[in-house]
């Protein structure tokens, strides 16, 4: 860190202030219908900031966030989760058995505990052992260091400010909740709680250098800022949850650790890892500003797809029972993204409209017959936020109503893609405030039109005082009934199959259709 700081042209000359610390300890206990305990997560998080003085620089600080998590569900409900978890058939946690699930064996839970050959195939991706599932922050990537970066401002001769930040950090683009369009610089860890935790808590921090040229107002714009982000970390994809973990989005983890019946090949042959190199680093540019009633950004990013793409392994050799041969390799192709966002406050409606959009080249979508296809993608979110006073509900505080329509268009769509050419997910947040905002009920509803799946999450948060906070809620999902033909079992002519392709169609809400939960968390912050 010191070497890096020097290379940026400044060095700390004296400590300007004491280190500020803040943080919390939290227990999150979730109980899943028919399963029992699904989460007993205990988290301790500490955040610090230390200001420094440096010649010629201002606002110099070192900032960090440290987190330790222990999820006791693997000790307390080891029949359902962990290395000894078993399923009757692949996908038993979200659909009935059909012909497709008799060809694929159930996924091997935590394969590195149970199947060394499969563990080798999955090396580097979704290959956590049980200790890593219990203590997800303590791994080779030192994820217990959620953030650690140094930041400094340089005032330029014309009054503009140049800010440099270097270190392990989160860089947030975009303005959407639950689903991401532009906010794709950091990969995310869906194994923590599917899509439902705050992105702040599930973004996987990356070692990055950011430079911001804060130009402030000019004759046209009220604010203008140009930034460059250079992600120099080794590429890490999204964590979808290893088979055996309590949360594995679209049940990908168990599919990846499955194999063909009768000692047939594994599903996954290898994971295409990307060693650290400058050529593998990721770069983004953003120009953002304020023009009248609109705030806007224009974004461009060269990165890698964070969701896995499955390529046939190309190995023509006949599978040998007992060998580690697999059908597919996991790839993470390079992607170019351009996009933008705009917020507009409508005075007539007294409401805020949000629009966020991206166009990507290089992404790959799964297919039945051909494994995958590279296709351009167009995504957008239209958001609408308004505060509505509803005195009949017993509070003078206005309710926050926030709706979003998330759209995705596959430009080079094929009929054997297990995704709609156009799909939409709508979300609604209704949040109220009582007792000086210390009691806050809310309901989140998300509906995936293509999957015909719905998640409903009512909850109540109570701030006991400045330190204690209790949150109680439910998370209910419906759907997950979509089928998709699999040519291995005769395709469309073979009837309706669920495995393995319908998981993509049913999406994160539909595939979690049996994950109805009662959720409670208690937090003490300091």
């Amino acid at each position: 860190m010191g070497v890096t700081a020097m290379s940026l042209g400044f060095s700390a000359t004296s400590v300007a202030a004491d280190t500020e610390w803040a943080g919390f300890v939290e227990n999150a206990t979730y109980v899943r219908d028919g399963v029992g305990l699904s989460k007993f997560r205990n988290t301790a998080q500490a955040e610090f900031s230390k200001s420094l003085e440096a010649d010629g620089w201002s606002n110099v600080s070192i900032n960090g966030t440290l987190r330790a998590t222990y999820d006791g569900v693997y000790d307390l409900n080891d029949e359902e989760f962990g290395k000894d978890a078993t399923e009757d058939y692949l996908g038993a946690n979200w659909h009935d058995q059909d012909l497709s699930s008799t060809i694929l064996l159930p996924g091997t839970p935590l394969p590195c505990e149970n199947d060394p050959a499969l563990c080798k195939n999955l090396d580097g991706y979704m290959d956590q052992d049980e200790d890593e599932a219990k203590l997800p922050d303590f791994n080779d990537e030192l994820d217990f260091i959620r953030e650690l970066y140094i930041s400094a401002d340089k005032r330029l001769d014309n009054g503009d400010i140049l800010n440099l930040s270097f270190g392990k950090q989160q860089v947030v683009w975009g303005k959407t909740d639950l689903f991401r369009v532009l906010d794709v610089i950091n990969p995310v860890d869906y194994s923590r709680h599917n899509i439902y935790d705050e992105l702040e808590d599930i973004r996987i921090p990356q070692w990055m250098l950011t430079a911001e040229w804060r130009m402030g107002p000019n004759e046209v714009f009220d604010d203008s800022n140009f930034s460059i982000v250079w992600n120099i970390d080794k590429f890490r994809p999204n964590n979808l949850g290893t088979c055996g973990q309590a949360y594995r989005i679209i049940d990908a983890g168990c599919f990846f650790s499955s194999r063909i019946i009768g000692g047939g090949p594994y599903v996954i042959n290898d994971v295409d890892e990307h060693d650290w190199s400058l050529a593998n680093s990721q770069v983004g540019l953003k120009w953002e500003g304020v023009y009248g009633d609109a705030t806007f950004s224009l974004n461009a990013l060269h990165y890698r797809q964070q969701l896995p793409s499955i390529h046939t392994s190309g190995n023509g050799a006949a599978p040998v029972p007992g060998s580690n041969f697999g059908l597919f390799n996991i790839h993470f192709p390079e992607v170019n993204l351009i996009g933008g966002s705009i917020d507009y406050y409508s005075m007539n409606q007294d409401a805020v409209w949000r629009l966020e959009t991206s166009f990507t080249q290089g992404e790959e979508q799964p297919r039945d017959a051909y494994g995958y296809k590279k296709t351009d993608m167009f995504r957008y979110v239209i958001g609408f936020d308004k505060n509505i006073s509803i005195p009949e509900l017993g509070t003078r505080s206005a309710f926050l109503v926030s709706t979003q329509l998330f759209g995705e268009h596959i430009l080079d769509h094929e009929v054997d893609m297990p995704n709609e050419e156009d799909n939409w997910i709508a979300t609604l947040l209704l949040k109220g405030f009582y007792v000086n905002n210390r009691l806050s009920p809310q309901i989140i509803i998300a509906h995936d039109f293509g999957a015909d799946a719905t998640a409903i999450a009512p909850s109540i948060e109570y701030l006991v005082d400045d330190h204690w906070k209790v949150n109680v809620g439910f998370n209910i999902k419906e759907g997950g009934d979509k089928k998709f033909p699999w040519s291995i079992t005769g395709g469309a002519a073979g009837g309706v199959q669920t495995e393995p392709l319908a998981r993509f169609l049913n999406g994160p809400i539909g595939v979690a259709n049996q994950e109805d939960e009662f959720q409670m968390s208690v937090r003490y912050s300091f």
Partner: protein
């Protein structure tokens, strides 16, 4: 007949919208009302205390809410000497320089010719149907925090008035910056470039507690009063800047008893309200010398030895400060929007400084709902760096929800120093940069 009506209307409009012939004497009278003596009231003297036993005697110099509080034994009022809060000479000079240039427009919220200084220094008249609006402009373009200032830190405490239980303590930094109507800090009279013609910025950053840490609020008020403020909220746990609709401006701010619209006595557009001047009177208002007050040695400690004002009374909802008998203008502002959560505010505007040390808020039914006090400290008896700044320092506030028997109190360390509030503080990008 028609012609006569038309002429009458035209004359009324002319009288209403054009400048009265305000004179330099008007300016002197407005800024130095105690030059030739301070007001008095029979039986009232500095050093005495008004409490349940003698409140009836002094009802005439108390506002209705304070009278009710004292009568109920919720608080007592200690009387201090009436002192002159001279505003900075640059503001007085700017007032003189713009005399006779300022005119109201045809509609509420429209004004022209106001570059800097007090727009309407002349004594308001009950016969002037737009006198209330003029006083509101005097407040809006007042020297409230000077050209810029900061409150660092600023403690807000949520209290149950019945039990006295301290429910929450929020620690903030507040910053204020005038883009236009500047008189003392360079550049004057305006910061450029300023493409959207902003008048003022208010930037708020939450330091504690953890659940709202790094929440930030930026309010950009336009020179054009008919345009709604741009308000941006940064939520630390989301790391995103969100635009606020005006519904949130009239909502409880972070769970307190204070709306964003309540800041400083009134923090909204002139055109959002119908302003009615109800008359001038002498009244006891919380204005004092900070260093002579009872201070709270627990809530805040720093290397300068600065301490914030102590609170007492029922539920610890009242600042332990002295009240001066001062000339105030009573003005009512009733909301134009029928969906607004309040029906009206009763403002008691200090005639010398045009700060609003006392407010009473009425709910939609017309019942008394909230009582607002914001203690004004003389800058020469506060922090050393505030001496001579000519700013009445906001120093201690309380917002009492009389219906819910709940209050939010505020304890300030107000600093008039332009270095603390550069214009870069008032940008959307600053929210992202500071919240990271």
């Amino acid at each position: 007949m028609l012609n006569k009506t038309f002429i009458s209307l035209a004359l009324t409009a002319a009288v209403s919208t054009s400048a009265f012939a305000a004179t330099e004497q008007d300016v002197e009278n407005s800024f130095y009302p105690y030059k030739n003596g301070v007001p008095s009231f029979n039986g009232l003297s500095a050093g005495m205390t008004i409490n349940q036993s003698n409140v009836e005697q002094f009802k005439e110099v108390l506002d209705p809410a304070m009278y009710e509080f004292i009568k109920a034994g919720d608080t007592e009022v200690k009387v201090g000497e009436t002192t002159s809060f001279d505003l900075h000479s640059s503001y007085v000079d700017a007032t003189k320089a713009n005399l006779a240039n300022v005119k109201l427009g045809v509609n509420p919220g429209e004004i022209s010719g106001s570059v800097a200084g007090r727009p309407f220094p002349e004594e308001p008249s009950l016969d002037d149907p737009r006198a209330g609006e003029k006083l509101a402009w005097n407040y809006k373009y007042g020297y409230n925090w000077g050209d810029s200032a900061a409150i660092m830190p600023f403690y807000w405490k949520f209290r149950n008035m019945e039990t006295g239980k301290l429910e929450r303590t929020l620690k903030f930094n507040f910053h204020f910056l005038n883009f236009t109507h500047r008189t003392e800090q360079t550049p004057t009279p305006a910061i450029t470039p300023n493409p959207s013609n902003l008048f003022r910025g208010i930037y708020v950053q939450v330091l504690e507690p953890f659940d709202v840490k790094n929440t930030q609020l930026l309010i950009q008020r336009f020179e054009d009063d008919l345009k709604r403020d741009n308000a941006y909220l940064y939520l630390g746990f989301q790391r995103r800047v969100r635009r606020l609709s005006s519904g949130q401006v009239t909502d409880s701010f972070l769970g307190s008893d204070v709306m964003i619209e309540d800041f400083e006595g009134y923090n909204g557009r002139i055109s959002d309200m119908k302003w009615t001047f109800k008359g001038a009177r002498n009244m006891l208002v919380p204005m004092y010398n900070h260093n002579d007050m009872e201070l709270d040695s627990e809530s805040h400690k720093d290397d300068e030895g600065y301490q914030v004002v102590a609170f007492g009374g029922k539920g610890n909802c009242f600042p332990n400060v002295t009240y001066q008998l001062r000339k105030v203008y009573e003005v009512e502002s009733s909301s134009v929007d029928s969906n607004h959560p309040i029906s009206k505010r009763q403002h008691f505007i200090d005639a010398q400084t045009f700060t609003i040390p006392r407010n009473i808020t009425y709910d939609r039914k017309g019942d008394m709902w909230k009582s607002w006090s914001i203690g004004q400290a003389h800058p020469d008896h506060h922090l050393p760096q505030n001496k001579g700044k000519g700013v009445a320092i906001d120093d201690a506030f309380t917002m009492v929800d009389m219906q819910a028997q709940h209050c939010t109190t505020g304890q300030f360390k107000g600093i008039v120093d332009p270095k603390l509030t550069p214009e870069s503080k008032m940008t959307v990008q600053n929210l992202r940069a500071s919240g990271k």
